[in-house]
């Protein structure tokens, strides 16, 4: 129905070009089934919007059905659309809302009424139509909760379109099917952008709202130009293909060069050796990391095991995954960062209070130290896995020596428990902390005495140092050209940890920024940990450094 070519402009992440069908996904289901409301006006507006969306969906289905099975069968969707428009039904829903019911509840009550009327007719054939009314009810309620079913499955890969992606959603996505990601909101440093980079796929963020009716349309996404062309014209498609072919050729040549460096150590011109490690968020990324020359895992985001489940994973489950990772990495270092969640990175089954300001709230090590049993089970799992490879443990969001000492006490307690049971583990497991708060960099002289290594999380360090919310597109640009304060903090931490004979890595986005590699090498950074698609590039860049 909408077939003319539409151009959407956004901010491109990664310079690739892809083409494919769009698939819209919705925000996470709201778990609270509302039955009472705040405001009649809002509820009426929601209803209006939901009915419009449901109708759009139905006409779309009608069109598809007509193409697939012919007009006769498609008629039923026409009936559905008419039911959605039906004044009697609408009036009844509105009346219920005015009585104080939520739009969802009102829809349920009104459709139930008509379902009953039809069933009471006692006619067998008409009774079947009651199901159409039920269908309508479901469609309106789904539209209300922004939760329409994917009635049309897109076979194969697709371009994912969403208002925004939450961290837990990104974990649950079938990544093998995603060609690219488009989000209405977001910034180059939002979760979506980070995910896209780690997957090595293009993304377009901050596009503004895209009409849901375009779901399933064919589109061209140009990460370099930051554009999405929906239903492209022939000329647009040809132009796109030309650019893509040219780009592919250059990319292949460059990759061949980088591959030739893969098994050589990354050493700068002045002889400083830098370890090139991978950031991974799940076990599946290991093979990619190894085939791209990762010398270790610099950041294992351990949240994935928690996000994939509906309840707290057991120590055994955690252990077996960490063990497998340690074995697969075959003696290369694997740094497990302990659970890093907070009000902005929620796990549904862990009860976290809503916070006004989650970035400054109960998160990372603060939360873990307060949830002793949960934390100890993760620490024990990591310790047990350390027997099967070279595992290190790292804690996030540190701001004080006290936190590190509290953590080390727990760690010792866990070691004792394991020893008592005769369970093997590396009793000298390496301990590290994330440097991601200005506080931790400022007191790095003291912290360095407590740990073996530092790893700089530049995303949070930038946000906390510059007082810039990286999810807020009106200020996130301020981070781009203002690296100096961050680099100075890293230099400070680097000096202090080296004094104590330890080492320092960088695992944030900055590690993958090739314009900063030279500076990071000069500061004395010993390790750069980046997502898999950047491994080769960073290694190549280090060897070009002075």
């Amino acid at each position: 129905m909408i077939n003319k070519s539409t151009l959407v402009q956004g901010i491109g992440i990664t310079n690739k070009r892809v083409s494919g069908r769009l698939r819209f996904i919705n925000k996470e289901k709201s778990t609270d089934k509302k039955s009472t409301i705040y405001n009649v006006g809002t509820e009426l507006l929601r209803l209006d919007e939901a009915i419009k969306r449901a109708k759009g969906k139905v006409w779309e289905l009608e069109k598809r059905a007509r193409e697939l099975v012919g007009g006769n069968e498609a008629q039923i969707f026409e009936i559905h659309a008419m039911l959605l428009e039906d004044e009697d039904l609408n009036e009844l829903i509105i009346a219920e809302i005015k009585k104080g019911k939520s739009a969802e509840e009102a829809t349920r009550l009104a459709t139930k009424h008509y379902e009953r009327v039809i069933l009471e007719l006692g006619d067998e054939y008409l009774s079947g139509r009651a199901s159409d009314i039920r269908d309508i009810c479901t469609q309106i309620i789904d539209a209300l909760s922004g939760n329409e079913k994917d009635s049309e499955q897109i076979d194969g890969q697709y371009i994912l379109v969403a208002e925004d992606l939450t961290p837990s959603q990104t974990v649950l996505l079938d990544k093998s099917k995603i060609l690219a990601i488009v989000t209405f909101g977001g910034t180059p440093s939002s979760h979506t952008a980070i995910l896209a980079r780690s997957m090595g796929i293009p993304a377009l963020v901050g596009t503004g709202k895209i009409d849901y009716l375009l779901n399933g349309s064919y589109a061209l996404l140009d990460g370099a130009e930051g554009t999405l062309i929906i239903n492209p014209s022939e000329t647009q498609a040809e132009d796109f293909e030309k650019k893509r072919a040219k780009e592919n050729k250059i990319a292949t040549e460059h990759e061949r060069y980088l591959r030739s460096l893969m098994n050589k150590p990354a050493v700068t011109g002045s002889g400083h050796k830098i370890m090139i490690y991978a950031n991974i968020g799940s076990e599946n990324e290991i093979s990619g990391a190894l085939s791209n020359g990762a010398e270790g895992i610099g950041l294992l985001r351990s949240e994935f095991l928690y996000l994939e489940k509906n309840s707290l994973p057991s120590e055994e489950e955690l252990f077996s995954t960490y063990r497998d990772i340690a074995i697969k990495m075959g003696g290369r270092r694997v740094i497990v960062r302990t659970l890093d969640i907070g009000a902005d990175k929620q796990i549904p089954y862990i009860d976290m209070k809503k916070e006004e300001n989650p970035a400054l709230g109960l998160r990372g090590i603060r939360l873990c130290l307060g949830s002793r049993d949960m934390f100890k089970s993760q620490i024990r799992a990591i310790l047990r896995a350390s027997h099967y490879g070279r595992v290190a443990i790292m804690i996030p969001m540190v701001i004080s020596v006290r936190e590190v000492i509290a953590f080390k006490e727990l760690l010792e307690e866990c070691k004792r428990e394991l020893s008592k049971k005769g369970i093997p583990h590396d009793s000298k497991i390496e301990i590290g902390i994330m440097i991601e708060t200005p506080a931790s960099a400022i007191i790095s002289d003291k912290l360095a005495k407590e740990v073996d290594f530092f790893s700089v999380g530049t995303n949070d360090l930038t946000q906390y140092t510059l007082a810039v919310d990286r999810q807020n597109s009106s200020v996130s640009g301020l981070c781009e050209e203002n690296h100096e304060p961050i680099l100075r903090l890293i230099e400070m931490a680097s000096r202090e940890i080296h004094k104590q004979g330890g080492w320092i890595g960088v695992c944030g986005e900055m590690a993958a920024d090739l314009s900063l590699t030279e500076e990071l090498a000069r500061i004395g950074v010993d390790e750069l940990s980046v997502s898999v698609p950047y491994l080769l590039g960073v290694r190549g860049k280090v060897s070009e450094c002075k």
Partner: protein, 90 residues
């Protein structure tokens, strides 16, 4: 005022599709369109209302049309009835 009566011949009665067809035709006219079937009365422009008549084969639908375009509406409605509720040849 225009009136006509139509006896439903389709063995499935006034089910969703013909009801849909009738109300969508009815909606295109300004005139008020009332359909009586036995003791029930429906607003011809409203699908659920028409469906709720529960009219089955052999029953009579009595159309009462009133308004500026009543003659045209009568003709259009009669045609759609013949087409959708006439003999079911399936």
């Amino acid at each position: 005022m225009q009136e006509f009566t139509f006896t439903i011949k389709d063995k499935n009665g006034l089910h969703a599709r013909p009801a849909g067809a009738i109300s969508s035709v009815a909606k295109t006219y300004q005139s008020t369109i009332e359909i009586k079937c036995g003791e029930k009365t429906a607003d011809g422009k409203r699908l659920l209302s028409v469906m709720s008549l529960g009219a089955v084969a052999g029953q009579e639908l009595h159309f009462i049309i009133e308004g500026k375009d009543e003659e045209n509406a009568r003709e259009a409605l009669f045609t759609i009835c013949k087409e959708k509720l006439g003999e079911n040849d399936k």
